[in-house]
């Protein structure tokens, strides 16, 4: 009898598992490429980690071919029964606005943008908080008193990074000069390492000795140029410290991987919450990367200052201005 029960239980469990496996989550990798060492790669790593942690689990993945195919790719994912469908980046906003109502049974997750639909989870990050912390480190590490920023596409989201960075730098050293440049105004700016490198060299020639790149695949060129010139660089989204040990001060990690992992996990348990989810310093959605590759560059003093600021931000004592809240920045003019 007990054996029978166990057997039945096992059958029921496997039936449940089969039911869950049928609704595979889907991930649409955005323009810029899967292995951009930054934003997309972070999302991909999150999905891979979810596969490793859930033996035999699988998910649908596809890579966007062009700006004009967003809608087809999104619909195809939903038509295939992927649930939830995770899309990356603000550029998907207006497309998802149209697509989501056609698939009321499917949940969608969008990173970096708010889409107000009943079946959409919108994940936004407090990039200004993480950027503030790396800005402080940059100003403290700088010997010339000039630090710089290279952005990808000139959109409010990237200005939010730049603004947080400038505020942090000025908090650590009120006399610091912050140079900010954007790579371009179109999505091509996410994948233009050559131009990123040129901007970096130009900033270094203006005296900058710490460069923060928030530019997706373009950042690879920024970090390379800074390393070639023997200056310090700060990575973004993924932990990029390993790319140029000795020249990477730190990375402003934005845990897109956690966002994807959490969305997949919640959906598998049937508990995906729609609405807005904010990932900030308090829940480790953003942060500063510390590892064996940058420990020699980071001083005790920097660590203490960063820890203090982090605690102040989390407790609400210190408020970092968010550029997107009013499209202006007190610490930097664009």
């Amino acid at each position: 009898m007990t054996t029978m029960k166990t057997l039945l239980g096992a059958v029921a469990a496997s039936a449940l598992a089969a039911g869950a496996a049928m609704a595979e989550p889907g991930l649409i990798i955005d323009l810029g490429g899967k292995f951009d060492k930054s934003f997309n790669e972070s999302a991909y790593n999150g999905a891979q980690r979810w596969v490793e942690d859930n033996d035999g689990a699988d998910y649908l993945e596809t890579e966007l071919a062009s700006e004009a195919q967003r809608e087809q790719t999104m619909r195809r994912m939903a038509d295939r029964g992927a649930n939830p469908v995770v899309v990356l980046g603000f550029a998907n906003g207006s497309t998802l606005e149209q697509v989501a109502p056609d698939y009321p049974e499917t949940n969608f997750v969008i990173v970096d943008m708010v889409v107000d639909q009943p079946n959409v989870q919108s994940i936004v990050f407090a990039e200004h908080q993480g950027s503030y912390l790396v800005g402080m480190m940059a100003a403290m590490a700088s010997e010339t008193g000039t630090v710089s920023f290279v952005g990808g596409m000139d959109v409010p989201l990237i200005r939010k990074f730049a603004c947080g960075y400038a505020q942090g730098a000025k908090a650590a050293n009120p006399d610091v000069e912050v140079i900010a440049n954007m790579t371009g105004t179109t999505p091509a700016a996410w994948n233009d390492p050559v131009k990123g490198g040129e901007l970096t060299r130009s900033q270094i020639s203006q005296g900058s000795d710490v460069v923060f790149a928030a530019a997706g695949g373009t950042g690879v060129g920024v970090l390379q140029a800074a390393a070639d010139e023997g200056e310090l660089a700060i990575g973004v989204d993924s932990n990029q410290n390993y790319l140029h040990p000795g020249n990477m001060l730190t990375s402003m990690v934005k845990r897109v991987d956690n966002a994807v992992y959490d969305a997949f996990t919640a959906a598998a348990e049937g508990e995906l919450q729609t609405g807005i989810v904010v990932k900030d310093l308090s829940n480790d959605g953003v942060g500063v990367a510390m590892d064996e590759f940058n420990e020699d560059l980071v001083t005790e003093e920097m660590m203490a200052a960063v820890e203090e600021a982090r605690a102040a931000i989390v407790s609400g004592e210190l408020e970092v201005h968010d550029y997107t809240s009013d499209d202006s920045c007190p610490a930097l003019t664009f």
Partner: protein, 369 residues
């Protein structure tokens, strides 16, 4: 006498080219460790195995018909218009302006104006290279391809400035509801046929009309005769009193307008807003379509459907298997290579084979050379 019977020219050679391309693609797929037959099955099934597949195949085909016809008419005047990409981008601008400027009450009113807008903008973009070719002798291949870059830069400029909708992405505002073209699902649903949700829309019918119209123009009008005569021999055409400047200009204007019309399908029919790179390379695929279709409207139509199937099947293949996207592009490129560029490789042996086959009854006993 033609070396080849007509059926061999229009059907056999493209078929052999296609089979060769598929064999080489199969080898490539096998090289990366995938089953080529399974891949082929997924592609065919994905492209024509369901109303969903057909919808997307014919949607892409509509784009390729317009750009294919654009290249085809230019070929008849022996002009090589490789600026279809840029002309289509300008066409998309024209269509978008029409759709954004006026709060259209119904698509039946919006469509003719959009056709006019797309055609005019496309034609205008072709007019400058055409004028330079006709009067200054600047080669049209060089000028049209340069104009592709200018068009792309112009569109980007407008999308981040004057036409940009609020928000972060570089795209225009959505078109009004009244300019929405009925999709195949809506049209066929009205008469009780269930069709999957695809972007295929009434522009497909406009494309078919354009095929028929071009055939009428080329083979049933005086202008068409002048275009073909000019293409066969410009000196003879001039001797016969045909004005080369006029023919070059008119042919290129029609060509540019046809390329621009692509936008009523892609921009007005599907995206319903102006996006960057909305042409998706259709301007270049149009060259392959025109080559494969022997510059005849019927051939262009068949080749366009084939390339539509290739696009849609390729997208399915990427979705269903772990074959990377770059590999799909390689397969599509191989088909273009074999049907377009390597045409002569098949043609001359086939011509020899046909000649030998024909001679034999005349001279029995003479050994083949």
């Amino acid at each position: 006498m033609d070396k080849l019977p007509k059926w061999a020219d229009v059907a056999l050679i493209p078929l052999i080219n296609l089979i060769l391309a598929l064999i080489v693609s199969g080898l490539v797929v096998a090289l990366i460790g995938q089953d080529p037959f399974e891949a082929l099955a997924i592609m065919v099934n994905g492209a024509v195995g369901s109303t969903y597949g057909w919808g997307y195949t014919l949607f892409y085909a509509t784009n390729f018909i317009f750009t294919g016809l654009a290249v085809a008419i230019a070929f008849h005047a022996r002009l090589f218009n490789i600026g279809g990409e840029g002309q289509a981008q300008l066409g998309s601008l024209g269509v978008a302006l029409v759709c954004l400027m006026v709060p259209w009450p119904h698509w039946l009113i919006a469509l003719p104006v959009a056709i006019l807008g797309g055609g005019l903008f496309g034609a205008a973009w072709a007019a400058i290279p055409a004028y330079l070719q006709a009067t200054r002798g600047s080669h049209i291949v060089i000028t049209t391809i340069m104009f592709n870059f200018i068009a792309s830069a112009l569109l980007v400029y407008l999308l981040v400035s004057a036409l940009k909708a609020p928000g972060m992405a570089p795209e225009s505002a959505r078109f009004v509801e009244g300019s929405h073209l009925p999709t195949a699902r809506e049209v066929l649903g009205a008469i009780g046929i269930d069709f999957a949700r695809t972007p295929m829309n009434v522009s497909f019918i406009v494309a078919l009309l354009a095929c028929w119209g071009l055939w009428l123009l080329l083979w049933r009008t005086r202008l068409g005769y002048e275009i073909r005569a000019f293409g066969h021999s410009d000196k003879a055409a001039v001797y016969a009193g045909i004005n080369p400047v006029r023919i070059t200009m008119i042919t290129m204007l029609i060509s540019g307008a046809l390329a621009g019309l692509m936008a009523i399908n892609a921009v007005m029919g599907e995206q319903e807003r102006l996006l960057q790179d909305n042409v998706l390379g259709a301007g270049f695929v149009g060259i392959a379509v025109a080559l494969m279709g022997r510059s005849h409207p019927v051939g262009v139509f068949i080749a366009a459907v084939l390339f539509g199937a290739l696009y849609q099947g390729g997208a399915e293949l990427e979705f269903e298997t772990s074959i990377p996207r770059e590999m799909i592009v390689v397969i599509q490129a191989l088909v273009i290579l074999f049907t377009g560029a390597l045409d002569g490789m098949v043609r001359s042996p086939l011509e020899k084979a046909f000649l030998r086959f024909r001679r034999q009854p005349d001279k029995p006993g003479v050994p083949a050379e």
